[in-house]
Symmetry: C2
Subunit: 103 residues, 2 copies
Amino acid sequence: MRKPKYHVFVCTSSRINGQQKGYCFSKDAVSIIQRFMEEIEANELTDEVMVTNTGCFGICSSGPVVVVYPEGVWYKEVTPDDVSEIVELHFINGKKVERLEIK
Amino acid sequence: MRKPKYHVFVCTSSRINGQQKGYCFSKDAVSIIQRFMEEIEANELTDEVMVTNTGCFGICSSGPVVVVYPEGVWYKEVTPDDVSEIVELHFINGKKVERLEIK
């Protein structure tokens, strides 16, 4: 299989009992996922960037949380409007969006 | 925050519409998550290894799928009984479980 260069994980508060409720979900995390998919497609990055929704990362007060591997960069309080900046700066230019980074 | 040394993502077929159905879920992926949590606790690895459930990785025919970052190692057809080997070989000894690896 072809592994992605960047794998972006977005907490959508998906629980293993099938429930989807929690802080990130309540703060529009599903729209964050959708914006990533749109931006990745628009920038022709579908071969390089994979997007995956997840359950809780355990730091809900920093949510919505987005984690990018393999670098292990954690972003906090992400909004749908932040997505284009992450795509352009991080995935196209290889730089972190420092204002959103959890240190 | 303290970042995990290993971050293991287990597909539990969690969909962003709140449904949880799909191949990995049907093949006992929730038990895989639970076994990881038990083994990580039993081996006192809670500071080093984080477990997160996810939605579909898009390679359902290889499921249940488990992905370990930052290495980007993808494991296929994982069963609950494989978990102790992944914990011991990969997280304790730093080696991949080659028989499960998706190349």
